[in-house]
Amino acid sequence: MAELVAVVASTHHPFYYRTSTMPEAERPPFAAEWIAKIEAFRETLTAARPDVLVMVGSDHFHQLWLDNMPQFLVGKAPFFDANFHNEEREFGLPKMRLRGQEDLAAHLLRDGLDRDFDLAFSNELRIDHSITCPIITLRPEADLPIVPVYTNIFAPPLPQPRRFVALGGVIREMVESWESDLRVAVIGTGHLSLELGGPRQFGPTGPDPVFDRRAVDWIANGDVAGCLAEVSLESLHAPGNATHGFMDFMLMMGVAGEGAKADFVETVDLFHTMEAYFTWYPGGDPR
């Protein structure tokens, strides 16, 4: 069976690429700390020596649209082109192309149905910065095949937080029951408190630093029950209008498992968001 060698959860900040590739003298003052922390985070994935990456993210109204909106979707294709015109325009993100791992995608789709997750699928998916940002931060070589898993954190009605946690648990079971000798890492990205397009956007910190601290504690300690007791679709409006992206972190807590303390935890306070990085090693820390 395949081995789940790392579970990685991260915020996806679209400006990391531009910040880390501009000439050093032109970089903003926070760049050095941010880059150093990302490079340490990257080492946690490298140390796990993965062969395949399951990439959990959320399309930001790029390919998926309100005329036909899936709640959870798996990409099954030999390749995935990546990044869209407006991401190039606003964030300076490059066009990319990643290989797909179709056997694992087929397994997730078949096994997901049989485990009561009616996953939608796409055979021609262009992926956006929710997946390319962690490729850029964690595996800039972009050399490993991926299976994209998209969640709807964006277009209500949204699935309940408990469904995100449950899907995370099922993804883990499915990876560990995949008949393969490959080493799999599951990487997912979301947000802590975040406001976009509202009055609290782009403040000196994230819109709700108290929520951010609590969220980091829930994730770092694997406190799934505590998190589920506090977080609802309704409550996530209060920390910021884009905070439903936190449910992708809850999905990753589901992959890591109840009570699983993260083996690596790091945060960075940026001017309008707290960035947070977590790695778990289900089979033991290889470092």
């Binding site: 930001h60 109204f61 790029h62 649209w65 309100l66 005329d67 036909n68 869209f84 015109h85 407006n86 325009r89 606003e90 964006f154 277009a155 209500p156 009605p157 976009l196 397009g197 509202g198 009055p199 609290r200 956007q201 782009f202 403040g203 409006h237 209060a238 209008n241 884009a242």
Partner: protein
Amino acid sequence: MSKYLIDKFLFSVDRDPELTERYRTDPVELVEWWERELAGSLLNCIPHEKTTWLAFDDDERRALREHDHVALFEMGAHPFLTLTLFIALFERDHGPMEYQLAYARAMDHVTQPYPDIST
């Protein structure tokens, strides 16, 4: 009122550089043209299979023509779509982060709960 159609406008104009530029330079013309030519276009279908019942109401048309992001927010347009498109329209005329902060300040009077963005 059609939050869906406002979102569809923002979505389709944002993703097409030519439409973005037309909306920046002549919003009255672009909104009128878009409603006539593109409001009924159905993704993944041939042009002939047009949706027949989609139209803006007067307030929606006005908010779009006047680049009124505050009114769009109050109508429940998806804030991510509005922000992304309006950054493309107006960031060019401002210093770093200046437009984004002004965009937020224009909504200082908004209190929670924010308008429902469900479509």
